[in-house]
Structures are given as C-alpha cells and as structure tokens.
Symmetry: C2
Subunit: 114 residues, 2 copies
DNA sequence: CTCAATACTTACGATCAGGTTAGTACCTTA
DNA sequence: TAAGGTACTAACCTGATCGTAAGTATTGAG
C-alpha cells in the first residue's frame, strides 16, 4: 500500500491510490478494454507476477478496477477499469501530456547532472 | 530521488519529478509566491529539515524550482516555482480535483476494508 | 503419466525513501 | 558571555516497497 501522504489540495488521496511503480501503467492498459492477467503480464514484461497481482488487488480494493472471473477449464480472469478508475485515468491525462512534453528536458538535465 | 518508472503514455517522467511524499505539496506552496526555507518549514510542520532541503534540491536540479539567496545578516533564501514548475503544477490540478471529489469515498472504502 | 497452460501464492532478501538526532557557521540581542 | 535565529549538513536507522524464485490447483494434450 502506498505511503502516508500529507493532504492539502487533494493530491494526497490521489497519490495514495495511483502511487507506486506500476499502478498508473496498469490502469492505462485496462482503461478502455478488459485485459486478462496473462495479457497484462505480456504487455508489461518487466513486472513480476507477484507485483502485478498485488497492484491489481489493491486497485480492486480501492474500487478502481473490476475483476471478473470465468469458471472455465483453463482459468480465466479479466480486469477492467470501473467508472472511478476511468475518471482517475482522465485526471491523469494532463500529467501524461506534461511528461510527454517535458520528459526529454528532464532526462537531459538529469543526464548532465549525473 | 524517485523510483525508476516504466514509461508509456508519458507518466513515467512526470512521476519521477513529482513523486514522493512531499514534492507536490511543496510545489503547490511556492507556485504563486516565493517562500523562505523557514516559512516552508512552518507551513509543512511534519516535514523534517533534511527532507525539505532534499526535496527542494532535487526539484531545483530538475528545473522546477528556483533558489535565490540573499547575502544578508541572518541568511535568507527564497524558493519559487520556475515556468516549468508552474506548468507541472497546472498539470496536477485535475488530479487534485479528483482527489477532492473522491478522496472521501476512497478513505471510507479503506476504512471498511481495514 | 508426464507436461503445459492458466492464475495465482508464499517465503525470503534487497533496496530505497523517509525519519531522527545532532552538529555547523554566521551574526544579533540581552 | 550565552542564547537564539537562520539555513543548512551529516551519520545513522527503520520500514515500506520491490524483486526473485519457487510452489499450488486444475485439466487437457500427447
């Protein structure tokens, strides 16, 4: 679970639910279409299975993600974003835009400072 | 320094510069008017001096914050947001709005799950 | 009768963000 | 002469976060 965040201006709760290394990326991947567990694993090759489930479970507990299991012969589970999850994803768009615009500047600056 | 973030959709760089427990709050406090070190300390009473300087230095290195020192008798330093810092702050507004809107829902949900 | 595929679960260890406490140098005021 | 305000700096420690590697249950294919 994410760290305690001080709160003024409402960013605290937001960072609590979306903070960490993987959650934003996972939410992004499921925010339009449902994805299976193994599908997500393939889409995010650097994540371990443990982390993937852990993050999905936490997001499910926070109401951002819906989990639907099919009782089939090879087990099958689909994860999708809830309305709350989609709203959060929308709120992240400007930040993503900022990153796309200034990411290179930041990277270069860090490179130079190394 | 923030954790390595995987990047697609541009959120990686953004989280790198604004991630962590204090940076967003600090940026918020200086994004309109310059603030002195001690002023920030008073405004964020729970932060330790070490963390405050550390975060300010990192944000300065990332070009979000400008540091101006006055060579005066009691030393004096003012921190202010650069144009880049202000643009990042703007990009955070929708996320802050989301937090203000759904923060209570999340908190209640976590309370219930405890 | 073993093997592969699915979606997990568990145990352990490493790493890193964050916190605590103390100390620095400068000058002013009492 | 001692205390206090300013803006730091440094050493050390804890605990959350993240990663690695292995094991689980089910069933169908070969």
């Amino acid at each position: 679970m994410a760290k305690k965040q001080p709160d003024s201006c409402g960013l605290g709760p937001a960072f609590q639910v979306i903070g960490g290394k993987w959650k934003a990326l996972i939410l992004w991947l499921i925010h339009t279409e449902p994805r299976r567990f193994g599908e997500l694993k393939r889409l995010v090759p650097d994540i371990s299975e443990k982390m993937l489930i852990q993050q999905l479970r936490e997001m499910e507990a926070d109401g951002l993600v819906h989990r639907k299991m099919f009782h089939e012969v090879p087990p099958r589970v689909e994860y999708s974003a809830t309305a709350l999850g989609v709203s959060l994803d929308d709120a992240l768009i400007p930040l993503a835009e900022w990153g796309k615009t200034y990411g290179d500047v930041i990277a270069a600056r860090r490179q130079a400072a190394e």
